[in-house]
């Protein structure tokens, strides 16, 4: 079934790439969304079954696949608005839509891959399609962003490949050459720990480029800054989820060997440094889009802290990354309206947004409450659980420093966003501000409400599935 899905998306993507007219373009995008939804429903109905040998519809895969499908619908809608408004040439439009469908399909397939090499191949495809999306505007800065993204992702993909090579060396003692996650886990007691140590270090470092964690986070920040808003929303939600899945599946394997403590230390250090870096940059940053990107770095730091702390932290990490995907993509969708109103990314030249676009301003207000994890938002629950896991694991000093860093982050975010919402800008020319229809924000409200609902009152099946994802962790 997954082969049919991939082939049909490839066909749709190719047609979108070669088609320069408007008449066929949007029916094709709608067809893609239909295929994506149909595939998600099929995956849910065939829970825990394998497909085409290399893919399994397991709990983690299905949670992430559903997240990706939910986000891909508004992403297509806002891409449509963005592409129609921005008056680009027909060929860049065609490349945009082709890369857009390919990115979502590659990410979806990588969620379900049960073999580390298959996952790696789809990660490579996302680099290709993402670079086409970042280069959408064909100018100097976009080229710089694309170059940095492609170069760092190429190096990190090489790292993952080295990790796979080491993993296959570590399996020599087990007498098996099958590198599927299931077989690796079954042989975890026979794996040579030294090679596994190397393998984990390389796989972890490689996937941090996609996850947006220290040390490879820079590529993602530049990419989100230069990519169009809807594409940046995908980068900060589903592509980050893909990096998480890549690390998490390897972490499960390592956690079942004698290296568990060492691995959680490695993950914990990277997570803490990401939080620190995010806090330092967010105090100084003037570009609103980069601020959102650093906020993603911060949240990924929290997610990985949950993984490092263990216990309830595993549950909280998966919950947090799903909720963060909804909230952050909604904020990036709103960013396009913000840019349209003020014509700049500079925070100092934006202000009094309530006056120009009331609905959009309400979205930003709600999104800021969500993203800083204030009580009514769903992220509050997951962050609280992460803090609890740190407390229970007796990492009190880490917890205190993390809370101090988060205070700085919340302060800088609130300061900048409230400035945009309330305080007027001196010398701003009001005559050319376009009117933005309020129904365009509808999807953003839906995503924010969905995040709050899943966090505060998670359906029993959702909780059950998250618990199923972490059942192999000690």
């Amino acid at each position: 079934m997954i082969l049919i899905y991939l082939l049909s998306v490839l066909l749709i993507g190719t047609l979108l790439f070669f088609n320069r007219g408007k008449v066929l373009n949007y029916p094709l995008v709608c067809l893609f969304l239909f295929v994506q939804c149909a595939f998600t429903v099929y995956a849910c109905l065939h829970y825990n079954e394998s497909s085409s040998h290399y893919f399994t519809f397991d709990s983690l895969g299905i949670i992430m696949l559903c997240t990706a499908t939910v986000i891909s619908i508004p992403a297509s809608y806002y891409s449509y608005i963005y592409v129609e408004d921005s008056q680009v040439k027909p060929d860049s439009k065609a490349i945009y839509w082709g890369a857009f469908t390919l990115l979502i399909a590659a990410v979806s397939a990588s969620f379900l891959a049960n073999h580390i090499a298959v996952m790696w191949i789809f990660t490579e495809i996302t680099t290709l399609s993402a670079s086409a999306l970042i280069y959408h505007h064909r100018n100097k800065l976009a080229l710089e962003g694309t170059w940095k993204y492609v170069f760092i992702c190429a190096v990190s993909i090489t790292f993952v490949y080295i990790g796979i090579l080491f993993l296959s060396l570590s399996m020599e003692g087990a007498g098996s050459t099958d590198l599927s996650y299931k077989n690796l886990l079954a042989n975890s007691s026979l794996i040579d720990p030294l090679w596994l140590r190397f393998a984990f270090l390389f796989v972890f470092t490689g996937f941090t480029a996609k996850l947006g964690l220290f040390p490879m986070f820079t590529a993602g920040v530049d990419a989100k800054d230069k990519a169009p808003g809807p594409a940046a929303a995908l980068f900060s939600s589903i592509v980050m989820c893909m990096g998480f899945v890549g690390i998490f599946r390897t972490y499960i394997l390592v956690a079942n060997t004698s290296l568990h403590h060492w691995a959680s230390l490695v993950v914990g250090i990277a997570a803490f440094l990401s939080l620190f870096i995010a806090a330092v940059y967010m105090i100084k940053v003037k570009n609103i889009k980069r601020m959102m990107a650093y906020s993603s770095v911060e949240h990924m730091g929290l997610v990985m802290l949950g993984i490092a702390a263990g216990g309830i932290g595993y549950y909280a990490a998966i919950l947090h990354i799903v909720l963060h995907s909804f909230v952050k993509s909604s904020l990036f969708f709103q960013y396009n309206q913000l840019y349209k109103t003020f014509g700049t990314k500079d925070i100092y030249q934006m202000g009094n947004y309530f006056k120009y676009n009331t609905t959009g301003a309400i979205v930003i207000l709600l999104a800021v409450i969500s993203v800083t994890a204030m009580p009514p938002s769903g992220l509050f629950v997951s962050e609280l659980l992460i803090f609890r896991s740190l407390f229970e694991a007796n990492h009190l000093i880490v917890l205190i420093v993390v809370l101090l860093l988060l205070t700085l982050i919340i302060w800088s975010q609130a300061k900048n966003f409230f400035k945009i919402l309330y305080s007027p800008v001196v010398g701003f020319d009001e005559t050319n501000v376009p009117r933005i229809p309020s129904h365009r924000s509808a999807f953003q409200f839906v995503l924010l409400a969905g995040a709050a609902y899943l966090g505060l009152n998670p359906p029993a099946i959702f909780v059950e599935m998250i618990n199923d994802c972490i059942r192999y962790l000690p």
Partner: protein
């Protein structure tokens, strides 16, 4: 014989670390491609014809003909200066490369004796880290790309060490190599050459936070 080839490969890294001219870099990369072909030919004894053709394509045609020709073309077309212009003196580069090799040798001492040849491990890892060091210490974008190509060579050696048991992994590595190099070299080095006339990383510093 295999070890002699690998040691020659290691020496070529030392030579690169003190090389001054861009054309030397290109020539050494081409030479490394030929070395890799012989290493692959000797290490992978029982492979089928299809795999052999793939490896031949990758090492001889791609690594030692297509890539050097393309790099020379880029160098000429964009009038890149002949000097490599490193941030650090050549002597220091030589010392750092030596330290990298020594550290990998010490690291390989940690390993148990097994079916795996330690020589491959030492050469592959020192190539990898030397490539990373070249990226960090050179100023031009094209030298960054060369650093990446050196890393790829290191990865190819490592994959050969595993390859006797798992030819699938070698093929994957070749796929990665061709895919990433074409993406980087073909599309972007060309584009960057068009947009930024003198390719220097200092020009790629407009994306910043404040």
């Amino acid at each position: 014989m295999l070890h002699v080839l690998l040691i020659i490969f290691l020496i070529s890294l030392f030579y690169l670390s003190i090389a001054n001219r861009m054309s030397t870099y290109v020539n050494v990369l081409a030479f490394q491609g030929i070395l890799l072909f012989f290493v692959a030919f000797m290490e992978l004894k029982n492979i089928n014809t299809l795999n052999l053709i793939l490896i031949l394509l990758e090492t001889i045609i791609f690594k030692s003909l297509a890539v050097p020709l393309f790099l020379n073309y880029v160098l000429k077309r964009n009038h890149i200066t002949r000097e490599a212009e490193p941030f650090v003196p050549n002597f220091l580069s030589l010392i750092i490369t030596t330290v990298i090799v020594i550290v990998t040798i010490l690291l390989s001492d940690l390993m148990k004796e097994g079916s795996f040849d330690k020589m491959f491990f030492v050469v592959a890892l020192s190539t990898l880290f030397t490539g990373l060091y070249f990226i960090a210490s050179r100023r031009k974008i094209i030298t960054h790309v060369m650093g990446y190509l050196i890393i790829e060579n290191g990865v190819f050696i490592l994959s050969l060490a595993v390859g006797s048991e798992m030819p699938m992994l070698v093929n994957l590595g070749i796929m990665l190599d061709i895919f990433a190099s074409v993406l980087i070299l073909g599309i972007f080095l060309n584009k960057i050459g068009d947009v930024f006339k003198d390719i220097d990383v200092d020009q790629l510093s407009n994306l910043k936070d404040y």
